[in-house]
Each structure stands twice: as structure tokens, then as C-alpha cells.
Amino acid sequence: MGLTSGSLLIVMVAAAICWIALTVVLWPRLVRRRRSRARTQDGIGRFAARLAGRVALLIGSQALVLAAFLVWLNSYFSFYDSWSELLGNSAPVVAVAPKPTPPDLHILGKLPPAGRPLRQLPNPVVFYGFGLGPGPGVGGLAPHPSGHTGHRLIRLPGAAVYGEIARVQIKGLRTGLAADTAYIYLPPQYFRRAYAHQRFPVVETLTGYPGGARSIIERLGLPETSEKLVAEQHARPAIYVMMNVSPVFPRDTECTNVPAGPQVLTFFAVDVPLAIERTFRVATSRAGWGTLGYSTGGLCAAKLAMIYPYTFSAAVSIAGYYYADRDDTTGNLYGSSQAYRNENDLFWRLMHLPIPPISILVTSSKIGESTYPGTLRFLRLIRPPMRGYSLILPVGGHNFGVWREELPQTLEWLTTRLGSEGSASGTSSPGSHQAGAMA
């Protein structure tokens, strides 16, 4: 039974109700009998048994009710998508068992002549399913987990009207990591003839920790908001690659190249862009690539753009923090090296390393957001050529409700900064003149 399946929740709720009914039925049996004799050893034993029975009934029902609550909350916020994620026994990700294939060895002189056909690298994007429309509410048909797998994007009828969401696995050819459940939102414009020669800007979108990529669609409503803003001409169409912030979930890697461990930063900064550029009609220069994330994803978005400014030109950190310390879920991220830890500390980078040429928007709130002091400190440290922007709410917590409120402004900010490549004959895009100037 899947962790986020409706049947599990039904079973849990039914169990809790049954237990409550059992408590009500068994209640009278746990009462002292009138005829019980005076305080004998036996009587004390019975008293203890009765008390234990009462406590067991009450605590049991509390445990079941709480468990049902947690299952519901987990599926609502998509913290953990499966039991293996929760329990941490998913397949090892850096699986590179040496194969005994002989190396492709040429002694010079026997080299094949130049100009022979290229040998293709394996396809890094595997499609698992396709859905129409920007979200479950619009256009219907959510991507199905057990749907079609293949290496090619299937264009659904109506894609040019609603857009499409593809459920994919993105394999990192250079790091060996993989984003197993990622979603790619392709705006309706991607399928329109007027944009057939335009390479679209891409936003790498990362969840918080813990969180499944599904929550970006369902809780944050990113594709929906994007579609609405594009229709209102407040934002430009872009492709959103939505991923779990940790490809080695349940370990929380904070987008770090862990020494002698998973190279998560390289995965997001090198592997994912190469995979997406290979598969979709997307921009290939830094001007067309941006990052967006909330919470831990916010740290990652800022870190990716700051360390790889020639891959990403703009970043949005929603309620993010800027330095990750060691905790239960991270393990040893920095190889016990203070110096390497510093290099992963964005405050330290701003103070000690050259400032990268990127634009960054950070959001937080004055009341209810523990990231506020860090955000202010980060903003104070930004100097040209880096551009800082802030969106500070007077009050707001660390939750999807607040981030939804902030999303329209951040998407507007981000997509007007990202350039597409190629010629767009469509005039519906408010920034198409910029795209023309770019090309």
C-alpha cells in the first residue's frame, strides 16, 4: 500500500474509528466489580490490570488518530512519496560496479579515421507519463506513474492550448545520480507553430526538504500560476523542471558535492542542464537559465547560480537560508574540512570570493519566518556585479500558502530576466521584443 495512496489513509482512519468504538464498548468491563473482596493481593493485581487496560485503550486510540493525521499531512504536503523514501532503503544511487569490459584501447596509429559517425551517449531523460494542463485542476489528467516510458516527448492533443506536464527520470551521466520523479512543465507555447523556432528559457525548480516534486505542482501551484501570468502577459512562457531537492533522498545534501560522496551540486548544475538541453528545445546560454526554490531549495537555487554563474543567470530563493550546518539528515557534508564548509557557505563566498554576475531575488517575512535575519545579512553582502532583489512580507510563515502569495511576483521577476533564443513570430509574449534583441 503506497504511503501517499488514498487507501492507506482510509485504512488508517478506519482503524482509528474501530479503536474508538472498541474503547467505548470495552469501557464498562474495566470497572471494579462491586463484589470484589477487600484488598487482597489478587485485588491489587486486578486493579493494575484494569488501569493498564484503560491506559492502553486511550493511548492506542491517540496513536492511531495521530498516525492517520500524519499520513494525511504527508500526502497533503508530499513530504515522502514512498515507504522506501521514508525508511531510507532506496536503491544505492552511486552504483558504478566496475564492469569487466575491456577498455576501448587504441595504440596510436590504429585510430579510426576522423569524421566517423558519433557514438551517442545514453539518453539522459526517461519519460514515465504525460499529463495535459498546468495542474490537476485545469485540463485534468495528471501524469500517471505507471504510464508510458520512453525517450521521446509525446505531444498530447490539446497540448498547444493547455500545455503539458511530463513525468520523467533525469539521469546524471556525469555524476551517476538521478532525479527519479521529476516533472517538466512545457507551456502551451512550446507546442505552437509560432514558437517552433524559439528555444525556451528553463527554470530549475527545487522543493524544500523533505518534499516530493509533486508538491511544486499541487501545493505551490507553479505551472498553474505561470500559465495564468503568461495569459495575462505578466510573465513569459518558460519550461519548469521540477525536482526533489535531494536526488539521494532521504539524505539531505543541501546541494553539496559531498567529498567522496554524492556530487549533488554538479548533478543540478551540469547533468540536469545537459540532459534538458539534449531533450527539449531550450535555451543553451546562461541568459536562458534560472533557478527557483523554496526553503532548502532556496539555498540550492542561490548556491547553483552563485557557483555556476555561466550556467544560470538568475535565481529566486523563496524563504531560503544561505548556509547549511550539519544535522541528523545531512551527515558529514563537508569532509570534516572547515575550509570546504566555508566554500559552501554563501555568506562566506560573498565576503571572500569574487562576486558572481547574477541576479537574485530573495523572499522572507518579518514576522513568522526564521530565515529573516539571514536574508537581511545576505542582502547586505551583495555587491555588483551581482544584483539583489528582495520581497519581504510583513508577516508570513514557512508554508505553501505564503509562497503561493509570493509566486506571481517572483515568476514575473524571473521570466522577464530570462531570455529565449531564436526568433519568435508569436506576439502574445510581452517580452518577445527582448527575445529578438537577444538573438
Binding site: 474508538i20 474503547t23 467505548v24 469501557w27 474495566l30 470497572v31 491506559v55 486511550l58 486510540s61 491517540q62 488518530v65 495521530l66 493525521f69 552511486v94 558504478v96 566496475p98 564492469k99 569490459t101 577498455p103 584501447l105 596510436l108 576522423a114 558519433l118 557514438r119 551517449l121 551521466l173 556525469r174 555524476t175 551517476g176 567529498p259 567522496a260 556530487q263 551540469v270 554563474p309 569532509g335 570534516s336 574540512s337 575550509a339 570546504y340 566554500e343 569574487p354 558572481p356 531575488l361 513568522g368 526564521s370 542582502l379 544584483r387 539583489g388 528582495s390 512580507l393 510583513p394 508577516v395 510563515g397 514557512h398 508554508n399 502569495e405 509570493e406 511576483q409 527582448q434 537577444m438
Partner: protein, 366 residues
């Protein structure tokens, strides 16, 4: 009472505790037969369950800082803010797009390269350059060989492949001699049609004090790998018509920079897909001040570790020299990596063979 106030949790916990004690001690009251006691039991059990769940959720909300207030939890509050630019005032107009902060590539002198035969101008140019990397902040002096064919109209729109040559001999007073030697070898081969026109960037490996010759990002020290993999391609591309495609970028090192060249290709195949170096140099040369490194970081810099534990990169590696020293790599290399060996170069660099081999591999996907 605020959603995140400790008082809320305390009150809920006390209520739950009182209810539990009350239920346990007045159990018999609700045990009587009849409708009212049954309803009472249901009410007590449900109330207790809800109170306990509320305590747990309030504690979780408090520690996670999810919802700041009741109105936010219930979704009745809508606050809004505006995006504010940090740097106001003149000179901070955001063009929306940075056309690349290119750093600095300054050409300090231009030397002609002898071409074969009659005309000296046929060989192309050797430029002495100083480069400052915008991301690493490092400054390096080196040479760039620009082939003659670049200026021809027919080739004006073709992006050239790039070979980055790294050697200690490119530092110091004899650097120009060595650079000229490489440039002339290349010019000769290009003129003979053995090598396609190619840009050659020549740099010493130790571009920063305290960095050693390993071309690594030293924790807490100079970020040399960042210079070679992020800054250098950007600088070369901004100044010359160089390709952005990794299959057209190669790196070659002699014995002083063998580790550097192998390391750059094996760890950054998205930048360099071809490497040539003498075999046997698989651990980084010692760094004078390596206070920042630990065993884990050193493991990661060991190329044998990289080959054994990280995915094999799509690179082509040419070993120039003793086959025995290449055995550790030959045993671990597998597709998509390609390994080749050329014997008998005897440590001389650059053998025309190396350029020839690189030239033939450039543009093919491993």
C-alpha cells in the same frame, strides 16, 4: 493565544493531561449503561485524541516555523509585498540580462608564427595574454595561438576547437620559447592539412601562489579548477571565435601538469572531452599549505578513486609514454571513456603526434 506561543502548547498539554487523569479516575461514572454515558465515552475519547494530536502538531509547527498565525493557517489572511531592487541610484540600471561579466583578457603582445615555406605570415599569431577569471578571481599569464585561417572569410562563422596546453615550462623566462615551439608545430600541421585549424591556449598549472600544480580548487585557497573549467572557457570564447561545445575542447599536460590535465578531463567532462598526458600521475602534487584538506577531500582528488567510485566520464585520454604506468587506468576505464597510448615520445613535448591525435578526436563524441 498565538499559534506559535509556548502558552498554547502548554495549555493544550495540560488539558490533555487533565482529561486523561479525569477519565482514568472517573472511569466508573461513564461505565454505567444508558445512552448518555456512551455518548460521554465517545466525547471523552475523541476530545482526548484531538487534544493530543493538537499538541503534537503545535509542537511540529513551532519547531518547523510553518504557520505564523491562526489567520494564516486558516487561509483568511492575505499579505502582500513588493519586489525591491537592492541597489538603487545611477549606474545600477538592471538591463535584465548580463551579457556575461567577461572578466579580463588583455593581449600584452603579438608575435608572428613562422609558417612553412615562403611567407612568415602564413602561420598565424601567438598572443601573450593576461587573463583574470571573474568567478575564481585568479589572474594568469599565458599564450594563445590563433591560426591564420581564422581571418579568412570562409571560416568566419566556424567556431574553432580549443586545445589547452598546461605546462610548467610556460612559466618563467623561457615560456615564450616553448609557446612558440608549440605554435609552430601546430602551424606546420595545419598547413600540411594534418590538423584542423585550432586555437591553443597555453598556461602554467600553478597560476596562483599556494595552489600547487594540481589545478584543483584548494579549500580555503585558490580556486584553480574553477579558473580552468569556468573562467578560461568563458574568457577564450569572449575574445576569440572558440567553440562552446565540450567535444571541441581538449587539455594536454606534460609531466609537470599531467595530473592537472587528467583531473580536469575526468572531473569536468562537460568542459574538456579530450585529454593527453604522460601516465602515472594520479594523485595531486602536494600543496604547500593544505590546511583545508582532509582525507575525504584527498580521496576525491585521487583519480584512481574517481575512476573506481564515480561514473566513468565520456572522455578520451591519450597517454604519452610508458604503458606500465597507465595500467591502473587501463584496468578501470570502460565505455564511454576511451584510452589510447602512444609510445616512445620520451618525455619530449609537444610531439606532433599528440596534436595529431587530439586533432583527430576533436569533434567526435566518445
Amino acid at each position: 493565544m498565538g499559534l506559535t506561543s509556548p502558552a498554547l502548547i502548554a495549555v493544550l498539554a495540560v488539558l490533555a493531561g487533565l482529561l486523561l487523569i479525569g477519565a482514568l479516575s472517573f472511569w466508573h461514572v461513564l461505565a454505567r449503561p444508558g445512552v448518555a454515558p456512551v455518548l460521554g465515552r465517545i466525547a471523552v475519547v475523541c476530545a482526548m485524541d484531538i487534544l493530543v494530536a493538537a499538541v503534537v502538531l503545535a509542537i511540529a509547527n513551532d519547531s518547523g516555523g510553518f504557520y505564523a498565525s491562526w489567520s494564516e493557517l486558516l487561509g483568511t489572511e492575505h499579505v502582500s509585498g513588493r519586489v525591491v531592487a537592492l541597489h538603487a541610484g545611477p549606474g545600477s540600471v538592471d538591463t535584465g540580462r548580463w551579457k556575461g561579466h567577461d572578466g579580463q583578457l588583455t593581449i600584452t603582445s603579438r608575435l608572428p608564427v613562422n609558417g612553412p615555406g615562403r611567407s612568415q605570415a602564413q602561420g598565424g599569431k601567438l598572443l601573450a595574454v593576461t587573463m583574470t577569471g571573474p568567478v575564481s578571481g585568479l589572474t594568469a599569464s599565458g599564450y594563445v595561438y590563433v591560426p591564420e585561417q581564422v581571418s579568412r572569410a570562409s571560416r568566419r562563422h566556424t567556431a574553432l576547437p580549443v586545445i589547452v596546453v598546461v605546462s610548467d615550462r610556460l612559466a618563467g623566462s623561457s615560456a615564450v620559447t616553448f609557446a612558440r615551439q608549440i605554435a609552430e608545430t601546430a602551424a606546420l600541421q595545419i598547413a600540411a592539412g594534418q590538423l584542423r585549424p585550432v586555437l591553443i591556449a597555453m598556461l602554467p598549472p600553478a597560476i596562483a601562489p599556494g595552489a600547487g600544480r594540481g589545478c584543483l580548487d584548494v579549500p580555503g585557497g585558490p580556486q584553480v579548477a574553477t579558473f580552468f573549467t569556468t573562467d578560461l572557457p568563458q574568457l577564450i570564447r569572449s575574445a576569440f571565435r572558440a567553440s562552446a561545445n565540450p567535444v571541441l575542447w581538449a587539455v594536454a599536460g606534460d609531466s609537470s601538469a599531467a595530473y592537472c590535465a587528467l583531473q580536469l578531463a575526468l572531473a569536468n567532462s562537460q568542459v574538456y572531452s579530450v585529454a593527453a598526458a604522460p601516465p602515472g600521475y594520479y594523485t595531486p602534487p602536494p600543496i604547500p599549505r593544505n590546511q583545508g584538506t582532509t582525507q575525504l577531500l584527498r580521496d576525491q582528488d585521487n583519480l584512481i578513486y574517481v575512476l573506481r567510485h564515480l561514473p566513468i566520464q565520456p572522455v578520451s585520454v591519450l597517454f604519452t609514454g610508458r604503458e606500465a604506468a597507465a595500467v591502473p587506468v587501463l584496468e578501470l576505464a570502460r565505455t564511454p571513456m576511451r584510452v589510447a597510448i602512444t609510445r616512445g615520445t620520451g618525455g619530449q613535448w609537444p610531439p606532433a603526434q599528440v596534436l595529431d591525435w587530439i586533432g583527430r578526436l576533436l569533434g567526435t563524441e566518445p
